[in-house]
């Protein structure tokens, strides 16, 4: 039956025709439909997403990559899942906080409409409870760092009784899931310590032991800005508890760009220095990498290759294209130069 369908559909795939009727039914592509957008705070919102047929589910604490078309261009970002895997309606949720100038986060929080079909990847990540769930937990979070922890609190509500959560936000109104967190704290299921940094300042890790007397007996999971994670890591190192710490770092959304940089050709495992004016195609060939090429003037698209990480600049327009881990952005190597460290899949 499948073989016949392929013969009928060629050169397209049968799934291309299925997509015409129902984008969520595809067996080839995992997509999701936004079925609801719930504002959380002034700058964050939860998206309720109905996943496609091939969704394999997730473990609390994991994240998914979401691909959304903004002004015609598909952009991928990773967000922690904030829903329980056992959600009765089978939907999943992600909760997004806007970043200043953040193209995708602003779009998802303020502009996306229900009914929009978005691209999804299967859930991934190891910031999960795993085997250590029997031990008591300490969660230290800030800002949107609460999102994977919320996923765990919702997904493992019984296992996490007795946990402590120290959460930082500028004010009480900026606490994402504030009402729900205070609710479960009031029921006595967890202890919640809120730090409102506008008035109280940032968390000083040296105070952790005073805030959580049984600190040494707990698994410690932290998620938030890099500065906070680094300081916690350093402090736990000095008091000999570093082995208890697991962190989830949100990837920096901003890629440092400049003129030129080291180009890593991932398949051939070759590093080469690219200056800001030399096409990556020339740099690669010079370094002995087998580069696909064509017209060498940007018109034939015979040299198109994947940028996996880093930044490149279009030598014709000056436009910078960036990619972060997990991205596969196709670029024309004959008219692109390194604009910072970058990885090319060749």
């Amino acid at each position: 039956m499948g073989a016949l369908a392929e013969r009928v559909a060629t050169p397209l795939l049968p799934s291309d025709y299925v997509d015409l009727l129902s984008p969520l039914a595809s067996s080839a592509e995992l997509r999701g439909k936004v079925v609801g957008v719930l504002p959380e705070t002034v700058d964050s919102a939860t998206l309720i997403i109905k996943p496609g047929r091939t969704w394999k589910g997730h473990r609390p604490g994991q994240y998914i990559r979401v691909g959304v078309d903004i002004n015609g261009v598909r952009r991928w970002r990773a967000y922690s899942l904030t829903s329980s895997p056992e959600r009765p309606d089978g939907n999943l949720t992600i909760t997004v906080k806007t970043i200043e100038e953040g193209l995708v986060s602003n779009h998802l929080v303020h502009r996306i409409r229900t009914g929009t079909v978005i691209q999804l990847d299967q859930a991934t990540g190891d910031f999960t409870l795993g085997e250590q769930r029997r031990r008591k937990q300490l969660f230290v979070t800030a800002g949107s760092g609460i999102t994977p922890v919320m996923g765990m609190l919702r997904g493992h509500s019984e296992d996490l009784e007795g946990s402590v959560l120290i959460h930082s936000a500028p004010t009480g109104r900026d606490v994402i899931f504030g009402r729900e967190l205070r609710g479960i704290a009031d029921e006595g299921r967890i202890e919640l310590i809120e730090i409102h940094t506008d008035r109280a300042g940032m968390l000083n890790p040296a105070n952790l032991a005073a805030m959580v007397p049984d600190l040494a007996e707990r698994e410690i999971r932290a998620c938030g800005p890099t500065g906070m994670l680094d300081s916690i890591e350093a402090h736990l190192e000095t008091i000999g508890l570093a082995h208890r710490l697991r962190t989830e770092r949100f990837r920096p959304a901003v890629v440092v760009t400049g003129e030129g940089g080291t180009i890593h050709f991932t398949v051939s495992d070759v590093n080469a220095q690219g200056d800001g004016a030399t096409p990556i195609l020339d740099v690669g060939e010079e370094a002995g990498v087998l580069m696909p090429s064509g017209c060498r003037m940007g018109i034939c698209f015979g040299c198109v290759s994947r940028l996996r990480e880093g930044a490149v600049r279009d030598l014709r327009t000056g436009e910078v294209t960036t990619a972060t881990t997990g991205d596969e952005i196709q670029i024309q190597t004959c008219v692109s130069a390194a604009a910072g460290t970058c990885q090319i899949e060749l």
């Binding site: 060629t10 397209l12 025709y17 592509e29 078309d69 015609g72 198109v304």
Partner: protein
Amino acid sequence: MTAIQKDPDNPIAHLSREDIEQIGRELDAIRQEVLDTRGEEDAAYIRGLIDTQRKLELGSRGVLLFSLFPPAWLVGTAGLTVAKILENMEIGHNVMHGQWDWMRDPKIHSTTWEWDNASPADLWKHSHNEIHHTYTNVIGKDHDLGYGIMRVDEDQRWVPFYLGQPAWNLINAFLFEYSIAAYDLQLKKNWKGRKENPEFQAKAKQVMKKIRTQMTKDYVVHPALSGPSAPTTLAANLTANLVRNLWTHSVIMCGHFPEGVATFEKKSIDGETHDDWYVRQMLGAANIKGSPAMHVMTGNLSFQIEHHLFPDLPSNRYQEISPKVRDIFERYDLPYAEGSLPGQVASAWKKVIRLSLPDDTLGKAKSLLGFGRKKKEADIHEIRPERLEARAA
């Protein structure tokens, strides 16, 4: 037309280096304007078109299940023909050009697209995007010039083989998608020594496989699905493919063969700058005037000049930039080749017939018959009527 450098009336002789550089800057600015405004509407255009095309194909094939009934045959065949033309021209050709790569949608991307055509996408992309668009109309480099079987320029030396070219071209039109596949394989060049050429063998195998799956779909599977309507569905598929061949052949001929399109000598592109390349593209292509529906059905190759200047801009934008491009032609006194579809097709055919004979046979015949025109005048008039008109205006 003869190669521009040999032309006693070289249309770019009046351009200084500064002029050419300024033309380059102005064209870059037009390109940048499109890039700056490229976005959601363009994405919606191509997605909508792909959606429409697929539904039209699906619907037409559905109707053809009952093609035993003549009205169903007519409607289904017409729909399928239009769907197949859209798929090859406005969608396939342009997606494979990378015009939609900027959307970063792997489903609508030059690296993944496969089209409903005998020629496999990657072979076609090489011969078309790389060779033809880089070396447009350079004699000896651009194989599109006469497809290697026809003499379409005075500078191609006449041999008796060319006497048959009106016939070759007609056969070519009927079998166009297979000619394209043969051409992408450079069959003529590679035929001798094919046995010792593993690269050719591999590509030939790839083409044969593509042709087989295409033929199985159109001439076996879909007819078989039609049950009692099998013979009529087979005829419908044959008709749709044939009409598409004739249509695309005509459109492609209009792009570079009509009178008034310039050709270039091989050595003239040594050390060519991007600005020189722009000027070569300006003179090496011809447009077709017509309705919006015609533009879509040609894949906007009716804006062949704009397409050759900016092969990677989304095709739905060519019409919009056309007046700006035309303005540059006018300010720099360059001939903007353009005509109606029947006019351009006739002009291209006329050239194919004229050049099938040794040079000036028609002129000599005319003098012998006592038409009394001086040779020089007759030649110029035959070669480039548009320019003379432009000069006069």
